[in-house]
């Protein structure tokens, strides 16, 4: 477990609680309730992060929320967040316009085990907005494709209208060295792709369990079903990684808001080895 002082590139090294102002370059709608913010540092200071890490993003006088970094880790001049508007703060963020400034603190937390996955097959399973924290990992994986064995990504979402990053999918689909499968809960009209829950796709994979690392992200209830399906494919719980969400305030292990029994999600997570937290997931109200 790394101490906060060891975490890379917290934007304001002197005090991780003091946000930087970042200029909104673009605010693009992805679906009816989800949008992508592209931000830049007005002083052109590069933003380095590891896939799976998050920022505290906010608006003065409204508040701040944890949001995963969703851009390309190799394009450090832009900070990208894809956000679903669910409440007061995310809704206020949805309304920001280019030129406006938002507050950003981060990056925080531990990301996906891309180093540990080198030399292994990789299965990525995500659903809904869970694709956002996963996208930087996919960029990294594809960029250093020869370091990994077989790579597959399974993505599930409710309807065709809820699909995120459609253009990117087209590109991923054409790659021969990356299996990408998308499934919808319900298919209407001309939809010719998979329909069914994302767990169905897992059982269709030919998984070499002892040689595979799985990374899972999405709504917590969904992750429980995904993990069971992966374990049914004989994956060891220590080879499955999941990204956890809890309410956060400080983001740096000071306030205890994100406590999950003996661990603080902001500091030890959000990405955990499943075997380390398996016993906590079924506990209600934790």
């Amino acid at each position: 477990m790394a101490h906060i002082a060891e975490l890379p590139n917290v934007l304001n090294d002197s005090d991780p609680m003091i946000p930087r102002l970042m200029r909104v370059v673009k605010n693009r709608p992805e679906t009816s309730n989800t949008f992508t913010l592209t931000l830049e540092d007005p002083d052109r200071i590069p933003f380095k992060f590891e896939p799976g890490q998050f920022n505290m993003v906010g608006i003065a006088g409204v508040g701040e929320v944890p949001v995963s970094v969703c851009g390309d880790p190799d394009s450090p001049m832009l900070v990208v967040h894809t956000i679903r508007a669910v409440g007061a703060i995310t809704d206020a963020l949805r309304r920001v316009v280019p030129g406006q400034f938002v507050m950003v603190r981060g990056p925080y937390g531990h990301g996906w085990p891309l180093r540990e996955a080198e030399g292994h097959d990789v299965v990525i399973v995500c659903g809904g907005i869970g694709l956002a924290p996963m996208r930087p990992a996919v960029y990294r994986l594809l960029q250093a494709r020869d370091r990994y064995g077989k790579c597959a990504m399974l993505y599930g979402t409710r309807t065709e209208k809820d699909i995120l990053f459609k253009r990117e999918f087209m590109r991923w689909r054409t790659r021969k060295d990356f299996r990408f499968e998308l499934t919808l809960d319900r298919g209407r009209g001309v939809w010719r792709g998979n329909v069914g829950v994302v767990t169905d796709l897992i059982s269709r994979l030919d998984v070499d369990a002892p040689n595979t690392i799985a990374m899972v992200c999405g709504y917590e209830m969904m992750m429980r079903f995904i993990v069971s399906s992966l374990i049914a494919q004989k994956l060891d719980p220590s080879r499955i990684f999941i990204s956890m969400e809890r309410n956060m305030k400080c983001g740096v292990g000071l306030c205890g808001h994100c406590q999950l029994r003996g661990t603080f999600v902001c500091r030890s997570g959000p990405v955990y080895r499943y075997s380390d937290i398996a016993s906590l997931l079924p506990v209600r109200e934790l």
Binding site: G128, G189, M221, F225
Partner: protein
């Protein structure tokens, strides 16, 4: 020809763990079939006289409602099976199933299969145990679908 069918059948996950004798026994009920994209495998309301073991391609289970058009409820591909109504009276299909891609399958004659299940209870148990597994998986998937597990509308 039968030998060829038997080999294809033996490679399908549905019969994994079935004895050689039972595979041979089942081979007596099967045929090789192919569906082109858009072709119906079966339609709602038709007698459920065939069960399909999919070998490649993809089919969609659909329902049509006036004013709503066609809704696809699930899709299935290689290694999966389509059609359970053969096992439950009155043996009538509840949904439309249409090929989305060129699909290869083994069709199992339901009357022949039911007769074999009656005459050899051990074989019948093996068939039903496999069907229960498929039904359990589909039921779980359906329950998960009901949960809005992607949290899209929370």
């Amino acid at each position: 020809m039968k030998h060829d069918l038997s080999a294809k059948l033996a490679g399908h996950p549905f019969v994994q763990g079935l004895s050689e004798d039972h595979i041979k026994f089942l081979t007596g009920c099967i045929a090789n079939v192919k569906f082109m994209p858009g072709e119906y495998v079966f339609r709602e309301g038709e007698p459920a006289d065939l069960l399909f073991l999919l070998r490649s391609g993809q089919v969609a289970v659909q329902v049509y409602g006036p004013g709503r058009g066609v809704t696809t409820l699930s899709t299935m591909g290689a290694g999966e099976i389509v059609g359970w109504s053969w096992a439950v009276p009155p043996y009538i299909s509840h949904f439309d199933v249409v090929a989305q891609q060129m699909t290869l399958a083994l069709s199992v004659d339901a009357k022949c299969l039911r007769a074999k299940c009656e005459t050899d209870p051990e074989f019948g148990y093996q068939m039903l145990a496999r069907m229960v597994k498929v039904i359990e998986r589909r039921l779980t998937a359906t329950r998960i679908q009901l949960l809005d597990m992607y949290g899209s509308h929370r």
